[in-house]
């Protein structure tokens, strides 16, 4: 059951990663709407507002699944990391835990500033909140991936 939930957690994280990365790129480096061109130009031209609800739902679901499988990590993985004195991966996961928690607290503001009237004065706040959430999601994804494969990395 835990393996199934772990795989589901990582699949949701992949979807979240795609959505938040597209939105961050289009928020920070927008291309003109409907611009034809390369893959990069089309990626920059996506309407960022269309990702907001998907990002919130995926973030909440991914965090919820992470919270459900967390006790298994605490009992079966972290103790081993401590015994093997693997401080860096252990610390990276501690940061993941706190960053994800802080991201949860930013979601209402993220939702509001993307849904509020598109005032120019909110532009920076929208973009930075999105970038922060993107950083948290990328950090969580990479750290989770490394910990899942830690024997292969020989850290």
């Amino acid at each position: 059951m835990i393996v199934f939930l772990l795989i589901l957690h990582s699949l949701l994280a992949v979807a979240l990663l795609g959505a938040i990365t597209h939105q961050t790129i289009s928020a920070w480096a927008p291309a003109s709407r409907g611009a034809a061109g390369s893959f990069i130009v089309r990626m920059r031209a996506v309407p960022p507002t269309s990702y907001v609800n998907a990002v919130i739902v995926l973030y909440a679901l991914t965090a919820l699944l992470g919270a459900i499988i967390y006790p298994s990590y605490r009992l079966n993985v972290r103790i081993v990391l401590e015994q093997m004195q693997l401080y860096v991966p252990n610390g990276a996961f501690e940061l993941k835990e706190h960053f994800v928690a802080l991201g949860l607290g930013m979601l209402p503001a993220y939702w509001y500033f993307w849904h509020a009237p598109q005032l120019a004065e909110y532009g920076r706040t929208r973009a930075v909140l999105t970038a922060l959430l993107a950083f948290i999601v990328w950090w969580g994804f990479v750290v989770g991936h490394i910990l899942n494969n830690i024997r292969g990395f020989d850290l």
């Binding site: 706190h98 928690a101 949860l104």
Partner: protein
């Protein structure tokens, strides 16, 4: 218009209060409940490790979430706090600052 202003106040104050309460909850261990993973038991407030490790993360989330909810609801209800005086950038600067505080708190993992 009034609803929009109240909502703006709520989300800004919530983001700030949640981040501050979360770091305080972690630093001073103010978990509303403790989960003992080995025995699958929940206990009210902070309980020490018994059989297996005690998990406080869930408790920290609830402490900061409920605390921020109360503070944000109060701030959005109080007319003396004007949304014009609230800097909307606080919704990201304070959480970002708290993220950096956590990097500092956990630096021992990376400096050994």
């Amino acid at each position: 218009m009034s609803d929009t202003r109240s909502l703006a106040k709520f989300v800004i104050v919530f983001a700030v209060a949640y981040a501050v309460l979360y770091v305080l909850s972690v630093q001073y261990n103010l978990a509303l409940f403790t989960y003992h993973a080995a025995t699958e038991e929940f206990h009210f407030l902070v309980q020490p490790t018994s059989d297996g490790p005690a998990m406080y993360w869930y408790g920290w989330l609830v402490t900061s979430g409920l605390g921020a909810l109360a503070i944000a609801a109060l701030a959005s209800w109080l007319p003396v706090i004007s949304v014009n005086r609230l800097w909307h950038g606080a919704a990201w600067t304070v959480p970002l600052a708290v993220m950096l505080v956590f990097v500092y708190i956990l630096r021992r993992y990376f400096l050994r």
